[in-house]
């Protein structure tokens, strides 16, 4: 009987995923508030069904721990429900689409982590829940402080200092020195500096967009990236670079900057490669070679990626079924390689729809960026949109061997305190921008209506 339930769950979970992903896209189209609300409520149902079946599977497969699993499940549902319903009441101008997606991604992450390592799942849940409470004040802060755009250089300097802190109190993980240890907790500063960096560029460009200002901004950005390169965090440097060029382009509207900076970036990378080939780039070369042919050294350098491909391939389109694969064989399957773990057990179709959900998340960020008319918020919103999507792309592309692996996590899904907290901050800032934008839009709308009435009344 257990087997029947587990097998049936597999297909129902997939169905729910497909329905959810589709509704992510159709939710944009309907403008009728009522219909939209109904759609968003349905989304919550899809998520809950999926989540319930996953935990049912865990409970059935692990009867001894059933009680812990049930309690853990209950807590998750409680927090998610509270969040999805309450957040909207506290912040009526916030985006429900984003709130739903945020919970969805977190819950998918919890499910996979429970599967891979129960202790990590619990830790992730505690960190994420605490973070949720913490970051819920962000929209209020943003709404009340319209001066945030004035501190451009402060963000820049702070960011550089925080990034450089690893040289003083850094610890090495996975071949890069980009973690610091504070009071016994390891933190990855670049996760948070990313946010400061977006603030920094948005703020600089909101002040002025002349050549001098752009050059000052570029100088700061180069220092950021330079520090990351010195830390051997080339994936991080790449993300910063992409955020930088996209934001400069959107902020100034000049495609010449985009082209120049891409050319400049390539030239710099080439130069750095020639100069520091041995010191900085040997592990880059290893990664590129592994990407080109992981099969040459299956047991050594190619181990991660080949295990990841075995996982994705062995799972097939419909997946092995939750708890029935062996995603734990993939190294760091709980963070960098979580996509492969998901693909193995939930199936490739599920995984592709997950990519589509992530993309819809990006689109909802972009929508906010397009609607908000203040240059500071607009540039910033788009910066976060790119930051989110590019990171997701690097992570998924890396583990599927589409591009060389850069050791990046999928926001909210992968395990990692720094990653979850910084992603939640990012999502909350987007909610803040959404709130500001919606409020303003409403005000203008009212004003316009008054004028219309006045015009008709006369």
């Amino acid at each position: 009987m257990t087997n029947v339930i587990i097998n049936a769950s597999k297909y129902i979970i997939l169905l729910m995923m497909i329905l959810y992903a589709i509704s992510c896209y159709t939710a944009f189209r309907k403008v009728d508030e009522k219909e939209k609300t109904a759609k968003l409520n349905k989304q919550i149902i899809y998520v809950f069904v999926m989540h319930f079946l996953a935990y049912l599977t865990f409970a059935l497969r692990n009867v001894e721990q059933m009680k812990t699993i049930v309690i853990f499940y209950g807590l998750q549902i409680f927090v998610a429900t509270m969040y999805m319903y309450l957040y909207h009441y506290i912040y009526p101008y916030s985006s429900r689409v984003i709130a739903n997606n945020m919970c969805f991604l977190l819950l998918i992450g919890y499910i996979m982590l429970t599967r891979l390592n129960f202790a990590l799942a619990k830790k992730q849940f505690i960190i994420a829940t605490a973070s949720l409470v913490l970051v819920s004040v962000i929209p209020t802060i943003m709404d009340r402080n319209k001066n945030l755009r004035k501190y451009g250089t402060v963000y820049g300097v702070l960011g550089i200092v925080a990034l450089s802190s690893v040289f003083v109190i850094g610890v090495e993980q996975y071949g890069s020195v980009n973690w610091i240890s504070l009071f016994g907790i390891t933190i990855q500063p670049s996760e948070f500096v990313k946010i400061l960096f977006v603030f920094f560029i948005a703020s600089m460009l909101s002040k002025s967009r002349d050549f001098k200002q752009v050059m000052i901004t570029t100088a700061f950005a180069c220092v950021h990236m330079g520090v990351l390169v010195l830390e051997k965090d080339l994936g991080g440097a790449l993300i910063f670079f992409v955020i930088f060029i996209c934001m400069i382009y959107v902020g100034t509207g000049k495609i010449a900057y985009l082209i120049t900076f891409i050319a400049g970036g390539v030239a710099m990378a080439g130069l750095a490669f020639l100069l520091f080939k041995d010191r900085l780039f040997d592990h880059v070369m290893v990664r590129v070679n592994v990407w080109k042919n992981p099969w040459a050294d299956i047991r050594g350098t190619g181990y991660q990626i080949t295990q990841s491909l075995f996982a994705i391939g062995s799972g097939g389109y419909f997946g092995s079924g939750l708890t029935k694969g062996s995603p734990d064989v993939i190294p760091v399957s709980e963070s960098d390689f979580i996509f492969s773990a998901i693909a193995e057990e939930f199936g490739v179709i599920f995984a592709i729809f997950l990519i589509l959900v992530c993309f819809s998340c990006f689109i909802s960020f972009v929508t906010i960026a397009m609607h908000v008319r203040n240059r500071f918020y607009k540039t910033m919103a788009f910066g976060f949109a790119i930051c989110y999507m590019f990171q997701t792309f690097l992570s998924i592309g890396g583990v599927t061997k589409f591009i060389p692996s850069t050791g990046v996590t999928i926001p909210l899904v992968s395990y990692g305190g720094s990653s979850v907290l910084s992603s939640l901050i990012m999502f909350s800032i987007m909610q803040g921008i959404s709130t500001i934008e919606n409020k303003e839009a409403k005000k203008i709308e009212e004003e316009r209506r008054n004028i219309e009435q006045a015009a008709q009344g006369a």
């Binding site: 257990t2 087997n3 029947v4 896209y25 944009f28 189209r29 403008v31 996209c246 382009y249 959107v250 509207g253 495609i255 985009l258 099969w295 299956i298 080949t306 491909l309 075995f310 994705i312 391939g313 062995s314 097939g316 029935k324 694969g325 064989v329 490739v348 995984a351 592709i352 990519i355 589509l356 993309f359 990006f362 689109i363 972009v366 929508t367 960026a369 397009m370 609607h371 008319r373 240059r375 607009k378 788009f382 790119i386 999507m389 590019f390 792309f393 592309g397 599927t400 589409f402 839009a441 409403k442 203008i444 709308e445 004003e447 316009r448 004028i451 219309e452 006045a454 015009a455 006369a458």
Partner: protein, 510 residues
């Protein structure tokens, strides 16, 4: 996704403008509207880059999804069948490991009393392998298929509901029972390896390695082989992983290299082997058994396996180009073979001490080769210069015998011109009709060609006996590569094994 972009470009409902009669408005209201209009205009302009980049991102995401689908449709099967994919073992709970059978229908691996059972004991030890402790042979390379089930859907659904195991698929090997038995018996108590394959397909018909073991007793064998201080190499498949000096079989490649470097001169090549010893690059060289062969052209030098003539040829070769030729024949390269195989070695280049050249030219020196690799080289000559990738799995059937997958021959590369092939084939035919193999092939009903070899090792105290060859000259049918260790002690000659194998091949195909 397309629709998505369209909705992005649509103006929001809230901001739709109605025509308003400007004259009815107060100056403040007019100013407000004008300002709003201006802001909207700037906003639209600023959204241009956003839309552009968003399209680019959409393009990347579509690329990623397309790539994943491509992986699933085109590459997946080959990837997950990789022997290093250990996760297949986790499927063991759901699938009853399938059988392994020979092409002629003998079951060589099955399950009995919940254990893996090998009905022919030692006979297929290395070729079929074993599946406990670690996996080897067909058990390893066919693991994915053995653990997959293509029993009919309904049956599988019922089994899943009952929580019973599904029947795994049967792997049909390319091996032939009769030929395997012949090779096994012919090698007898001697250590060494035999590989027999079809030159035009790469299908391996027989693969024997000795010393051997009984895979039914893998528990004991494994423990003994892995005991501390154990030097046992019984688990090593010498056919694919044994590295031997190629001895005189290497002269075939030396001759080919000479032909390539002296295309106009090689037919007129001549060497007078009149003394038991001669000096080349200040190294003294003698022929096997200290014989003298007299005046030799290239074909005679090969037929009689004249070391002095080949030492002389060696001194005339451009060593770097020689190395290039050999590397094109997969020396110092991994073999295109599904299972683990050792890499053959050729170490000379332009910078090497010239004193190594003479010995290397006739197959001594530091050169090492696996029997499988030698089989591939001789097959390339037999197959008109086209090297085929050797393989061991013919097809996969479900447990009821319905075919679910068929493996086709695939070629590696064309390594020789047809002129080169014709010339070398002529020389190798001479080896069998008049040369060192003539005694062994007297009265054969088929036309064979080949090259014998005797490699010295342990400072010349012991001999390895080699034979590589094929039949039939005009229409290649089968090729062999055989090596026998310590043939001077056990008296087993590789050429004699080849004769037996060819005879059996023709007796069963009649």
């Amino acid at each position: 996704m397309k629709k998505k972009e369209e909705t992005l470009n649509k103006p929001r409902k809230g901001r739709k403008k109605k025509e308003i009669d400007q004259r009815l408005l107060t100056p403040e209201q007019r100013a407000f509207l004008e300002k709003e209009e201006k802001i909207d205009k700037i906003n639209n302009k600023m959204n241009g880059p956003i839309i552009g980049i968003t399209y680019l991102v959409a393009f990347l995401v579509i690329g990623l999804i397309a790539y994943i689908l491509h992986f699933m449709i085109v590459e997946k099967d080959e990837v997950i069948a990789n022997a290093a994919n250990t996760r297949l073992d986790s499927y063991a709970a759901d699938v009853n490991r399938g059988d392994i059978v020979t092409k002629d229908g003998k079951t060589v691996a099955t399950n009995k009393n919940g254990k893996r059972y090998y009905p022919y004991d030692n006979l297929f030890a290395h070729a079929v392998g074993y599946s406990d402790y670690t996996k080897a042979g067909v058990e390893l390379v066919g693991n994915y298929y053995l653990m997959d089930s293509h029993a009919n859907l309904l049956e599988r659904a019922v089994n899943t509901l009952r929580e019973e195991q599904n029947e795994g698929d049967t792997v049909v090997t390319t091996l032939n029972y009769e030929l395997q038995q012949t090779a096994y018996d012919a090698l007898g108590g001697a250590d060494g390896a035999v590989v027999m394959m079809e030159p035009d397909t790469g299908r391996i018909l027989a693969m024997v390695s000795k010393p051997d073991f009984d895979p039914n007793d893998i528990d004991t064998v494994w423990q003994e082989a892995n005991a501390e201080g154990s030097t046992s190499s019984v688990l090593l498949n010498r056919a694919t992983q044994g590295l031997y000096p190629p001895g005189s079989t290497f002269k075939v490649l030396t001759a080919l290299t000479y032909m390539r470097q002296y295309p106009r001169k090689y037919e007129k090549y001549s060497y007078n082997c009149s003394q038991t010893e001669a000096i080349f690059n200040s190294v003294s060289v003698h022929c096997y058994g200290r014989k003298t062969h007299g005046q030799q052209d290239l074909s005679e030098a090969l037929a009689n396996s004249c070391n002095q003539a080949f030492a002389d040829i060696g001194t005339q070769l451009n060593v770097n180009k020689w190395k290039d030729t050999l590397e094109s024949f997969l020396f110092n390269q991994s073999l295109p073979y599904m299972d683990a195989s050792a890499t053959s070695r050729f170490t000379l280049d332009g910078k090497s001490d010239k004193g190594y050249i003479p010995q290397t030219a006739f197959g001594q020196g530091d050169t090492l080769i696996t029997p499988l690799h030698n089989a591939m080289i001789v097959s390339t000559i037999a197959n008109g210069g086209l090297m085929m990738k050797p393989y061991l799995i013919d097809s996969v059937e479900n447990y009821k015998g319905k075919r679910v997958k068929k493996f086709s021959p695939s070629s590696y590369d064309t390594l020789m011109t047809s002129d080169e092939v014709d010339t070398l084939t002529g020389y190798m035919r001479k080896v069998v009709t008049q040369g060192t193999a003539a005694d062994y092939f007297a009265g054969a009903s088929y036309e064979a060609a080949g090259k014998t070899g005797t490699a010295e090792y342990a400072n010349g105290e012991h001999d390895f006996s080699w034979f590589i060859g094929f039949t039939s000259v005009d229409h290649p049918e089968v090729a062999v590569s055989i090596v026998v260790e310590e043939s001077d002690v056990n008296g087993v000659k590789a050429t004699a094994i080849a004769r037996k194998l060819f005879d059996t091949y023709y007796s069963i195909s009649e």
